[in-house]
């Protein structure tokens, strides 16, 4: 049995192709693997909402998990924070991970209020704290357009009117001379209302004809305002975004930071490095145990080779879907590879020890055991997804992906190698088990 012959086995070619693909995937990505905050250094905050969500506030706003996540995301983006992830857990918790952010800063980011400023032509009309009420975005029954109704304080309303009129004058239009309000609303010279979140422009909209009319003709400063975006799908998304921006000043529900975890980058790197070294040593130790049992390099090499391939393919997959590898995920990989080695031992023993049967049936018998083990592992891991805390999810995912790749790709390849190694020679080896 030569190396060339093994390479010619189709199952082995599939395996090698996947290993190559995984390496390429990792090579193409920079960094090759995205590490979780506990390995790359960073912080994780767990936050509890005052009420289980969804919750309807006294003023009629429905607060959902999605809304909170969106507001927080917008806020972080506004602050220029890039490497973070927010995941809801259950009805009352949020888990927020920051890469490369120290815990005090992370806590400050979550607890602070966003600074919302609404301007017209460089003049401040009102700020987030002057928003009295924000209604959820809806489709207006009368106009058929998407809109966000909101209410501002009396002072803010007056200021808004003054600022709007001044902006009009700045643009060279005398408010008193205006007669056609429709064309005023569409006049490109007229400045738009601009919303700034933490000094970053996030949204803008023109002042509508009816509001101009109220401002100029009636001389009124209405407190109840409506921001219209249009009637198409894009307008709906925009209305949603406007609602989030308006709300980002103050969250519609109180959040309490109930857990702060952090790992400095140096320590995280040390964890990652040690885990990798542990992996290499573990492979050597396992190889040694297998050699002591079978006394044949022809068995040790394929077992270790397929085991290593499995790790590479799992990592390639993680790289492909940009899965954050954290410590629990590494535990999952260890689990998958451990199961893989166990399964290969089963295949080897079925092939070596059950010589009265045909090779096909020996392999089939091995796979009966392997599939049973696979079913139970997947069955045990699936509920972890439903329960869904981040720690358990990462672990469950890598375990499921790992054992599944194992059962369908690496184990069959190994089986074919063993089949080739021991199937064709009629020479009966020394019986095992006599010591």
């Amino acid at each position: 049995m030569s190396f060339e012959e093994i390479i010619k086995i189709r199952r082995v070619q599939v395996l090698l192709a996947l290993v190559a693909l995984s390496l390429l995937t990792m090579y193409a990505h920079d960094p090759p693997l995205s590490l979780g905050w506990d390995l790359s250094g960073g912080s994780e905050l767990k936050v509890k909402t005052e009420q289980p969500l969804p919750y309807v506030t006294p003023d009629g706003t429905t607060v959902t998990m999605e809304l909170i996540v969106e507001i927080m995301t917008k806020r972080m983006n506004g602050l220029g924070i890039k490497d973070f992830s927010i995941s809801p857990w259950g009805k009352q918790y949020l888990i927020i991970d920051f890469a490369g952010t120290d815990p005090e800063r992370a806590r400050e980011l979550v607890e602070r209020q966003g600074k919302l400023v609404v301007k017209v032509g460089n003049r401040t009309a009102f700020t987030g704290s002057e928003l009295v009420r924000i209604a959820p975005y809806t489709k207006s029954l009368s106009t058929g357009k998407w809109e966000v109704p909101f209410t501002i304080s009396e002072d803010a309303a007056k200021r808004f009117r003054e600022v709007a009129l001044e902006a009009l004058r700045d643009a060279g239009i005398e408010p008193e001379s205006v007669t056609d309000f429709e064309s005023l609303a569409n006049d490109p010279r007229v400045p738009w209302v601009e919303m700034y979140l933490d000094d970053v422009l996030v949204n803008s909209a023109p002042i509508g004809a009816s509001l101009w009319q109220e401002f100029i003709v009636a001389g009124k400063a209405p407190r109840d305002l409506v921001l219209e975006t249009g009637s198409d799908e894009e307008a709906e998304a925009q209305a949603k975004s406007v609602e989030v921006v308006l709300r980002s000043g103050a969250l519609p529900i109180k959040l309490e930071v109930i857990s702060v975890s952090s790992v400095p980058p140096e320590l995280g790197m040390q964890f990652a490095k040690n885990a990798a070294i542990a992996g290499i040593f573990a492979i050597i130790a396992v190889a040694l145990v297998i050699f002591l049992r079978y006394r044949a390099a022809a068995i040790v090499l394929p077992i270790i080779g397929t085991g290593v391939s499995e790790v590479i393919i799992i990592l390639g997959f993680a790289s492909l879907i940009r899965w954050d590898l954290d410590l629990p995920a590494i535990a999952g990989i260890i689990a998958a590879v451990g199961t893989g080695v166990d399964d290969q031992i089963v295949i080897t023993d079925e092939v070596l020890l059950q010589r009265t049967y045909s090779m096909r049936s020996r392999i089939k018998r091995a796979f009966f055991i392997i599939f049973s083990a696979w079913f139970t592992t997947v069955a045990a891991m699936v509920p972890l997804f439903m329960i869904g805390m981040a720690t358990l999810k990462g672990f469950a995912l890598t375990t499921i992906v790992g054992v599944t790749i194992g059962v369908f790709i690496t184990r069959p390849a190994y089986a074919r190698i063993v089949e080739h190694l021991f199937g064709k020679t009629k020479k009966v080896r020394k019986k095992k088990g006599k010591r």
Binding site: A278, P328, V341, V346, A373, A380
Partner: protein, 289 residues
């Protein structure tokens, strides 16, 4: 005759006392520990603060000084990995506020521990409780799903029951052993217990399949072959975990490794004495009938 043959030639049923006693004692330890709240729990599940910092020089008085500064109970422990890195783990029985955390950092800085080299984990008791409840659910569901799969796969009551019993006993006895050795129930050890559900049934599935599904040779020979394969599986897993334990410096991975090592040892008894005993009884009774 090899040791294995001698062992198998004996009437294994009388050894059944060992796993049964183990399970009963384990149950008593776990149940009383759970109800009295004395099961060792990490801050992951009871709330509190864990600080990890590089340990340089003399760190003996840190616990005392922190306790005096903060007014909470403080315990410290130094762990080292295979490369001589030493880390100081500080356990504080209270979830520190931002302000208290600052004071703690100040104390540590007096021992030459830089502020940005400290890893921290602060968990409020209410969150710890929620995590613990979740951990219990995770374990129960994983176990239940596994059990259903086993029954669907083998479709005969006694052998399926034996597999599930063995897995159950593995978890209970491992939990009890952890409690006796003072190993805390933590994020890491929970992962390990979940893995144990999987590893534990692997050897039982192997045994049951070799004995009941693929029948050739006499019963003892089938058990013996299953045992050779199964023990190799357990020993490789044990070895890999031993290496992980020695090399890794992360608490999560250390916990995983330690608990799986205990679990593997427990599983050897449960699979190769208890489950073998039950299967022998089942097969012999069926042969008579």
């Amino acid at each position: 005759m090899s040791k294995l043959d001698e062992f198998l030639a004996m009437d294994i049923r009388k050894f059944m006392v060992l796993p049964i006693a183990m399970l009963l004692v384990g149950l008593v330890i776990v149940v009383t520990g759970y109800t009295s709240g004395t099961l060792p729990m990490s801050i992951d599940y009871k709330g509190g603060t864990l600080l990890i910092a590089p340990a340089q020089g003399d760190v003996e008085n840190i616990a005392e000084e922190l306790a005096a500064e903060l007014g909470y109970e403080v315990k410290t422990r130094v762990v080292s990995d295979a490369f001589g890195n030493r880390e100081l783990e500080i356990f504080i029985n209270h979830a520190l506020s931002t302000e208290e955390m600052k004071r703690a950092r100040e104390v540590l800085s007096r021992y030459g521990i830089a502020e940005d080299s400290i890893a921290s984990d602060i968990i409020s008791p209410s969150l710890g409780e929620a995590f613990f409840r979740q951990a219990i659910y995770a374990l129960l569901f994983a176990f239940a799903f596994m059990a259903v799969t086993i029954f669907l796969r083998f479709r005969t009551f006694v052998p399926s029951f034996a597999v599930v019993l063995s897995a159950f006993s593995d978890i209970v006895v491992t939990l009890a052993t952890m409690s006796l050795l003072g190993i805390e129930l933590s994020k890491g050890s929970l992962l390990a217990l979940l893995l144990l559900v999987g590893y534990s049934v692997d050897t039982d599935i192997l045994l049951t399949t070799r004995v009941l599904v693929h029948r050739e040779g006499d019963l003892i020979a089938r058990i013996k072959r299953a045992m050779e394969t199964g023990l190799t599986m357990s020993i490789t897993t044990f070895t890999a975990m031993l290496v992980l334990f020695l090399v890794s410096s992360s608490k999560v991975l250390d916990d995983v490794a330690m608990v799986i090592m205990i679990g593997m040892l427990v599983d050897m008894i449960n699979t190769w004495i208890q489950n073998v005993g039950i299967l022998r009884w089942y097969v012999e009774r069926r042969a008579r009938a």
